[in-house]
Symmetry: C2
Subunit: 528 residues, 2 copies
């Protein structure tokens, strides 16, 4: 960049919506901001933990500071001889510099300059800001996490170190204090596991802020990719009556148990009484045989007059749009009430799903990845002797996370496509292969991440679909709308879903998906 | 476009993922596809209802066809003299043309050409495809909604009419039949209200397909806008423990009532018994005073060990990210269990929300729209005599849809910003104005659409926030994480949420938001 643009204009990119200059537009310039020296700007951000110390820098008497507990102010003072010589070289506003030196050299009464590194989340880099104690008390502005909005002049650093520019504050517009005793990030650098208890603060750490910028870039790239490839975005419903995978790990959506305001006791009572009477009816029916029918009666009083769930997958709905618009995709939250604790899967995850009309699976399963059939995968795993798996490998049983990891990390050591799974392991609408046993599906397994993509070709033969619905004991009525797509202008359709959150895990090299998601939700854990 | 690119290359844009050519890449060319004449291509799509008829074209004996019931085949036959003369002019493959004429002129045995208009959803235009009965029976391929994948040669139309090119099919790769008696779109053009009962088919109509393409364009434009303006995308959680607006119109998420598979009766019983015993405990407590405490105990056995809801608004969560990354936005589904039937609001709607750190409301409420305070709005409406409102206008009461419509459609006749609402009408976290009565909020009301945008400045003073939480009788524990943001490095933050679905309504000129949403969900209505 620098060679392409040797003469940087001293233009400042103001945010359209505030006078604040976003730090990335200064620090991310090819010249690192040097072209802006002398300019007056407004910056905002949060005070970083000083790089030289794991402890909070407090304003202390110099003699109380040990060599390891050195604060920012200390660093400046210890370099004073060098500092003085630089100022001599600069010349210029000598009188003012002299004043500043006087304020830094500790003597009673003790005016001082707080030297802060502030970040505003727009980039990894931070800006050094010098705040005279006449503008704001060091004890107010120096604690890690303090919010500052400051107007000042960009200048060449008074201290010669890695910084290229710094801001000399002339006006402090806003200070958001920190209660140091209670602020979790005041303490020394927290590991990611502990940060998970403070999901509302952790984006203020360099690691999580970086993860979120990567997440943002991947989100935009995902949308751009599909847009450029002429896929239309369809917002599939989150609340659905269709349990697309016949899963029991599903969240129910209801207003029957609705939260009632404290001042609305009578309504609360009504709702609970209603539910109680439904339960009574249910219990009476238990002695009878047809309890599924009873469920229907129970939920006829619910908001949608029927049972509704949080969607596990939007692919059935997406297919209805593929059967009209051709290539479509969706990108949104999907839900699974999975109680299994996993570093790879959460109860709420963002998923990219796509459906392509007029396509067959052969066209998708081509690519540079290693490809093995489910049957081959099972045979390979059965021959493994040097590792004891917790769950037994057997044809017809799902490969577990440990099986998939072993294949991709230990045996193939690269991403792996496993295709043609037993039909019993896949949803009712996946196309049955000619062997009558396996379904036209594939999973892409990625080292460290696990199953990132699950793809399949939809069953276009309506009699096969009906048979599968019967075999799986699904309630046919729920799927009539989907069967309709086969009865009228059926098209061969392929698609896949890919979990966005593990993609972020993969791109960042993190180990736990909880650190890749803004507010993770998993069994027993929903903080806010 | 045409003037810029007079010589169109005869390149075909193949989809990366199938041999099918997307119609928009042919019909949307500056030359309308003329440059492709003579090329062999594969196209796929669904058969349109013939423009000349509201009825399904069936293969009929010509004598049975009345002048108004004219079918596509009929149209061709009625223009045969002209057709013959064109062929003479063309010359070329005379012998083959002669054969074709023979097949079209009805005589026993009756080979014929089905003339179809097919759409693949990529654009409004359709392509004419000629299918010889030797390739596929007219009764199979002609019904509206039939799916066809055909390989053929692009040719100049044999009939001179509005079409610029047509495809002479040489191979029919796939036909998806239609059960005409049951296919709702077989019947004459359905009004949008009736199409709502067939959400899975309606994207096959020109209107809804167009709406969905506009929706897609608006979605992409929204993301591009924020990306270009350096807002970071944050996926806020859908499942939340925080009822951000203290609303009683909220959906609860639970696994306590989880759907059980028919073969899993005992587990179902357990769950219901558990719930029943919780209700019993609840009923015992009803005689006591602290029923809110009881609720907590009840839901400790739920998936997240507490009560969880579908998010009404992501702005509180977004603010936590604005307090670290600066300018952030989110775009996703939000939920409100509103039983009020409305053409403008649904139970599940997509919303764009943004938060800007270091901003105050003054910076946002500038623009070309008319601006009035809530108090002025109430005074204006009170003076209205020519219209009787269903709900009385009174200071301190929410303006209803009819009030807002009247102001924007009848009085101001343009989009309108109403600001400074009584604090009681806004969530606990909106900044209290200096008058102590109103909150720093604004709504943007748009003719025909209603409240499109709701914006506000967050309360940065923690004592004010605590007071508001107490005044509203909210459970403070639920908001501790949010109060934390004020205790540690608080920043002035503004933002707004804007409903995406009414924006589509506005852009398309439709009257009912149900027609602008792929699968609408409203009180009592969730089809799939």
């Amino acid at each position: 960049m620098e060679s392409e643009q040797p003469h940087v204009e001293d233009q400042i990119s103001l945010s359209k919506y505030s006078k604040r200059v976003i730090l990335e537009t200064i620090l991310g310039r090819p010249d690192g901001g040097v072209g802006l020296i002398g300019r007056r700007i407004v910056v905002g951000g949060w005070v970083n933990r000083p790089a030289s110390s794991e402890k909070e820098p407090a304003v202390q008497a110099p003699e109380a500071v040990g060599p390891k507990d050195v604060s920012c102010v200390e660093v400046l003072q210890s370099r004073l001889p060098f500092f003085r010589s630089i100022i001599k070289v600069f010349g210029g506003d000598h009188h003012r510099m002299r004043d500043k030196l006087d304020t830094i050299i500790p003597k009673p009464p003790q005016p001082s300059i707080s030297i802060l590194q502030i970040s505003d989340g727009s980039c990894v880099s931070s800006l050094r800001v010098l705040v005279d104690s006449a503008l704001a008390s060091p004890s107010h502005v120096m604690p890690t996490g303090t919010c500052i909005l400051a107007e000042g002049i960009v200048q060449k650093p008074l201290l010669q170190d890695k910084e290229i520019i710094e801001l000399k504050a002339e006006k402090i517009v806003h200070v958001g204090l920190v209660d140091q005793d209670r602020y979790p990030l005041s303490k020394k650098r927290l590991p990611l596991e502990l940060l998970r208890d403070s999901t509302h603060f952790r984006p203020r750490t360099t690691t999580v802020a970086s993860v979120m910028r990567i997440r943002n870039a991947l989100t935009q790239a995902t949308n751009t990719f599909f847009h450029e490839n002429r896929f239309l975005y369809v917002q599939v419903p989150i609340i659905t009556t269709t349990d697309s995978q016949g899963s029991s790990e599903i969240f129910q959506v209801t207003t029957l148990l609705a939260k009632q305001k404290a001042d609305d006791q009578s309504a609360a009572t009504d709702d609970f009484e209603e539910l109680a009477s439904q339960l009574e009816a249910k219990q009476k029916q238990k002695s009878g045989k047809n309890s599924v029918q009873t469920d229907k009666v129970n939920f006829s009083e619910d908001f949608f007059s029927c049972k509704t769930y949080l969607t596990v997958s939007g692919r059935l709905h997406l297919e209805s749009y593929a059967s009209a618009l051709g290539n479509v995709y969706s990108f949104g939250p999907r839900f699974r009430a999975n109680k299994f604790d996993s570093k790879k899967f959460l109860a709420e995850m963002w998923m990219v799903e796509l459906e392509m009309a007029f396509s067959e699976l052969e066209l998708i399963v081509t690519g540079p990845f290693e490809k093995i059939s489910y049957t081959e995968a099972v045979e390979t795993l059965k021959q493994v002797t040097e590792r004891k798996f917790e769950t037994k490998v057997e044809w017809g049983v799902s490969l577990s996370e440990e099986h998939e990891s072993y294949l991709t990390e230990e045996i193939y050591k690269k991403p792996l496509i496993i295709y043609n799974h037993p039909k019993e392991l896949k949803p009712f609408n996946i196309r049955l292969n000619d062997d009558g046993k396996t379904a036209a599906a594939f999973d892409v397994i990625v080292p460290k991440v696990g199953a990132l993509i699950r793809g399949s070709q939809s069953e276009e033969r309506i009699n096969m679909l009906s048979t599968r619905i019967k075999e799986l004991g699904l309630e046919k009525k729920q799927y009539e709308w989907y069967l309709d797509l086969r009865k009228h202008g059926s098209v061969r359709c392929c698609g896949f879903s890919f979990l966005f959150d593990p993609l972020v895990l993969y791109a960042t090299g993190l180990n736990d998906v909880r650190d890749a998601v803004p507010f993770p939700r998993s069994f027993g854990k929903a903080n806010n």
